[in-house]
Amino acid sequence: MQPIGADEAAPSAVPLTVQQVPTARRRRLPGLPLWLRLLLSNPKSRMGLMIVFGMFAVGVLAPWLATHDPTAYSLLDAKQSPSWNHFFGTTDQGTDIWSQVVWGTRNSLFLGFAAATLATVLAATLGILAAYCGGWVDDLINFATNVFLVIPTIPLLIVTSSYLKSRGSLSMVLILGLTLWAFEARILRAQALTLRNRDFILAARVAGEPTWRIVVYELMPNMISRIAAAFVLVFYISLLTAAGLQFLGLGDMNSQSWGVTLYWAQVNSAVLQGEWWPFLFPGVALALTVLGLVLILAGLDEVSNPRLRKPPKQGRGMISGLFLGHGRAK
């Protein structure tokens, strides 16, 4: 029954919500999913994406960016600090560090990326399987996950690589991927569990959709942002871990990689001789890439938890100074 004189149809309930969703978007990026748009509009993750893409670009353009052959020795040029000839200086054997770092980008990024892919695929598959199937499958996978979480990864990796005769990229990727999946498997399982009980999944089951279809077409799309976050996390962890193993002398010592350069720097006691360049530059390259990934991760976190987004600037009303001055925003 419409009351007479209702010129404005009374709309929905009073929005006395105090949670602010960003309303002002300078660039509309139509067609992209919401989470991607939020990611791109967040300054933190934008910067992260720029850094990471920059690194990938360096890796791809390595043959053109490098000034010297990264394996060439020249005792004449040994131990030089940075100069125009050698942007990053030279090692104890006279190899150009700039070229090593530039070429090393390929290897390091590849190891990280490949290991992250393997680990994420494992984590997502096992996590979602465990959540969806429940019962003994869940228990088994849980047990495996917990065991892997309890056994310390670095010592395990150290021992495993010490058994390996050859430590080529493939073996490294395999052992990294097979040990780093546990952490994210637990988180993805938790998320899949909350989704599993949602109405749209139940509706699909009642409608008779086969399990695999439900998992791939209904469940997964809703978890994309979380899976992306998992991938980024494992990426930077495997970057660090791979570099770390190489640093300890347990990686493929014949390849060009940031960790390997650092290893030689340490073994030649560069630091103790006051030579800072052999370890600073590869270290900064590594740290920068990790920072970029961490920023992207922070952006992804804010996508899934709106409360973490930066509180909007408040208008300074005349009384606001007297309030509970935590500056906390709802």
């Binding site: 029954m1 419409q2 009351p3 007479i4 004189g5 209702a6 010129d7 404005e8 009374a10 709309p11 929905s12 309930a13 009073v14 929005p15 006395l16 105090v18 602010q20 960003p22 309303t23 002002a24 509180p311 909007p312 600037k313 408040q314 208008g315 009303g317 005349m318 009384i319 606001s320 007297l322 309030f323 509970l324 001055g325 500056g327 906390r328 925003a329 709802k330």
Partner: protein
Amino acid sequence: MSAVATKPLLELDQVSVDYVLADRRVRAVDNVSLSIAQGEILGLAGESGCGKSTLAGAVLQILKPPAEVSGGRILFQGQDLVAMSREQLRRVRWRHVSLVFQSAMNVLNPVMRVGDQFVDMFKAHDRIRKSDALARAGDLLELVGIDRGRVRSYPHELSGGMRQRVVIAMALALEPELIVMDEPTTALDVVVQREILQELEVLKQRLGFAVLFITHDLSLLVEFSDRIAIMYAGEIVESAPSDVLFRHARHPYTNGLMSSFPPLSGPIVPLTGIPGSPPDLAKPPSGCRFHPRCPQCTGIDSSLHRLQISERPVLREIDAGHQVACHWVEGP
């Protein structure tokens, strides 16, 4: 029942509260004026979202950004709370004005024993030894009908009704002059509801505090309070002593509310409702905010209709102690 002779305990003078959002301000409480005398129970009723809880928060000055008091004065015993410093406010809070929150479920710290939470409160306002504070906490629990041994319990070990009583006991602890109660019994079943209200009556007789009782359940107020104010879309639309309101409510909204609730006792009456829903306060209706839903806004009397859709009605006293803000009531 008139509190004119003595100075009112709490006086809200044209108070407005806004929610400041990135691109606009939404006025949740609009020029509200109220007063409560010592020892008086004032009921404040209205639908969800009409601004009652915001008003409660404003009285205790615990509103968080983006909500802020944008106008008016809140005078407690003559002093303006809005103009006070943080430290002054901290001293007024609880000792003189306390608040019973809406849902007791989550209002107690889950990792602290109940007694310790009382102790914290006592220590914040007084120099007192822990043992004395715990003893007083025990006394208070007994006052609200809970075994004093429960001082050592954790909140999750108590039932919902018990927790609400604990919260009431906390509100009484420092013997404030005014207690603001925001839907104190909504989450409880009717039996417990009645028990608690009866206990409150008794306590009020003993301790002499005033109460601002906020609820959407008008029937409770009619039985329990001395005066009632009805709130709609951020404004007070009617205020009167409760028996007067019950028998001679004038505002169409009040009447709509009254016929929406079955009373706690008495004969069975047919239920009606109020069509439509509360307005979006970001874009309130022009003129009288209730006019889209008002059965008295029919367009038959064109001059009245024009008033209703263009001018905001003002609270006017039509009888002793009885104020209404309504064009139709004021007559042609």
